[in-house]
């Protein structure tokens, strides 16, 4: 492996094209790793795929009379993990393509990759004490063991498919339940470590790309209205992350006193409204100045294709501009799938995994530009 100075030096002497062609061995490894990073939810398929990148359902479940993971002893956590492994064996989960990974044996970079793929939470990635990820091969269903709750079942689908995601997650909930004694109370529903999840234990969310609402400066007004109807708005990577690339995650906050169907309908209703508003804002922009939009997309594409260094923030913004151009037919030949994949591939964890070494911010900006070059058609 080259040290920093050498890497920068070689970059300054060769054209970017040559750098890309160089090092076939690394390219092969990177190809394999890129296909590891790519996940089903990035496909760019499903209803409203242009605006809705993905739909997610998460169910929080716990076992009766066992301390919740944050307060559990190592022994108790180990018991929960063992229970999870037993369920995997005794149910048909293993046959249906499930595997289990102990978090403690994974490298920090690979854990980060799993977070960036939305398969585990940042909390689980930091957990070394008997935590695990049960993952179906297609990565649509993942079950976190010993996160904040004993089990967190997740279903992640491309496009707007909340109902289907709920049905899938609920199916696996039933399978787990047939082997486990859930902590459940008639009055308070599924009992969870955090009172914000009690009741249904359901967190439903959609990831939306709303560039036209941002360009027309309506986004803040609209998002604050969304937050007033009991829904939370966050950035691409959930709680506390900044909102970049005009991507917004909308999710329910209320879990008690509403049925799963009501929660989904509420989120679906608001999402549909946001989609309509975004569409009419796009219409408006097209009427106002089609050329301006085309220019914006073309310039963004040009920078992505030629830049030597890209920060995460600007890459996200340019990808958003390109995406809008593609959606409106102003820019051709860039599949949604690639744009979705790039949202993840350019994250720090993925870049370091692809490069198989730790990268500082400077090197990441270089590598980010290279990966975008390679992937963007």
């Amino acid at each position: 492996m080259e040290d920093n100075r050498k890497a920068k030096h070689s970059l300054s002497e060769n054209s970017l094209e040559e750098i890309l062609k160089n090092n076939d061995g690394e390219n092969k490894m990177q190809q394999e790793r890129r296909s590891e990073i790519v996940s089903k939810w990035m496909e760019g398929t499903g209803p409203e795929a242009e605006i809705v990148i993905s739909s997610r359902i998460r169910l929080a479940r716990n076992i009766r009379k066992m301390p919740f993971p944050p307060l559990a002893s190592d022994e108790q956590r180990e018991k929960i993990l063992q229970t999870a492994k037993d369920v995997l064996r005794n149910s048909r989960l293993e046959e249906s393509g499930f595997g289990i990974m102990d978090i403690s044996v994974l490298s920090p970079v690979f854990r980060q990759v799993l977070v960036e793929k939305h398969l585990i939470s940042p909390l689980l990635s930091r957990e070394n004490r008997f935590s695990a990820l049960m993952l179906r091969k297609d990565e649509i269903i993942s079950i976190m063991v010993n996160e904040e709750d004993h089990f967190r079942i997740q279903c992640l689908l491309p496009g707007l498919q909340l109902e289907k995601a709920w049905q899938e997650a609920s199916r696996y909930d039933d399978i787990l339940e047939s082997h486990l004694d859930y902590a459940f109370d008639e009055e308070k529903g599924y009992l969870t470590a955090c009172p914000t999840n009690v009741g249904t234990g359901l967190r439903a969310s959609v990831m939306l790309h709303l560039p036209a609402l941002a360009i027309t400066q309506q986004i803040n007004r609209i998002l604050s209205a969304v937050s007033q109807v009991g829904l939370a708005v966050r950035g691409l990577y959930g709680e506390g992350t900044e909102m970049t690339g005009n991507l917004f995650q909308i999710s329910n906050q209320i879990t008690l006193g509403q049925s799963e169907e009501e929660i989904l309908q509420n989120l679906y209703g608001v999402t549909s409204q946001l989609i309509n508003q975004e569409k009419s804002a796009r219409e408006h922009l097209l009427n106002e100045g089609r050329e301006k939009l085309g220019d914006r997309a073309g310039r963004a594409y040009g920078i992505l294709k030629n830049a030597w260094m890209l920060s995460s923030r600007e890459a996200m913004q340019f990808l958003s501009d390109v995406r809008l151009g593609v959606d409106l037919g102003l820019l051709k030949g860039v599949p949604l799938k690639i744009l979705n994949e790039l949202l993840v591939l350019i994250r720090p964890g993925c870049l370091q995994y692809l490069k198989d070494k730790n990268l500082g911010p400077y090197e990441r900006d270089l590598e980010r530009a290279i990966q975008i070059q390679k992937c963007l058609p």
Binding site: L71, S178, L191, T200, V233
Partner: protein, 179 residues
């Protein structure tokens, strides 16, 4: 302490800003913090959840007035040993029994978080049969009362045995009734 902006409400939000090395501190109420834009969408990121909960739990006029703070801070869950005061600090329960242990004290918090306090969603199949058993027992008990009032003791004895059987099923965990 009162809000430094409006001077009316209790300050529940502590804002520290460091701009170009210059530190400014503000104690605001929830309303003013919202207006000042200090509580953006990344609320969770800026303010620790536990602080949020302790604010909710001690918030005056939230309907929890009848419970004096001294009476419940000493509560402790026999399941995991977590005290109510600790729960307020960490914002997490220790185990499923905490919900029972802290009982009614939780209702104002749940109402503030969810606007509701009763679950109406999915019920686990296994618990579903448990719930049905409980409802059966309730019904039989009512009948039993009637029979006793009517002095129909033989029939009452039959009902009593039925109730006992059902209660045994429940206390044995109802494992035989999953479905």
């Amino acid at each position: 302490m009162l809000c430094e902006k409006c001077g009316k409400n209790i300050a529940s939000v502590h804002v520290t800003k460091i701009i170009n090395g210059k530190k400014t501190e503000l104690y605001l109420c929830e309303n003013c913090a919202g207006e000042k834009g200090e509580l953006g969408f990344s609320f969770e990121g800026k303010f620790p959840l536990h602080q949020f909960f302790s604010n909710l739990m001690s918030f005056p006029g939230s309907g929890s007035g009848k419970v004096a703070s001294t009476s419940y801070s000493g509560l402790q869950c026999p399941g995991c040993g977590l005290t109510y005061a600790q729960f307020g600090q960490i914002g997490r329960f220790g185990c499923d029994r905490c919900y029972d242990s802290f009982g009614e004290n939780l209702l104002p918090l749940l109402r503030r978080l969810h606007g509701n306090q009763k679950h109406i969603g999915k019920i686990p199949a296994r618990v579903g049969s448990h719930v049905r058993l409980k409802k059966d027992i309730e019904r039989l008990r009512e009948e039993l009362q009637k029979k006793v009032a009517e002095e129909a003791f033989e029939e009452a004895a039959v009902l009593r045995d039925k109730i006992r059987k059902l209660e045994n099923k429940i206390s044995s965990g109802g494992e035989n009734h999953g479905g």
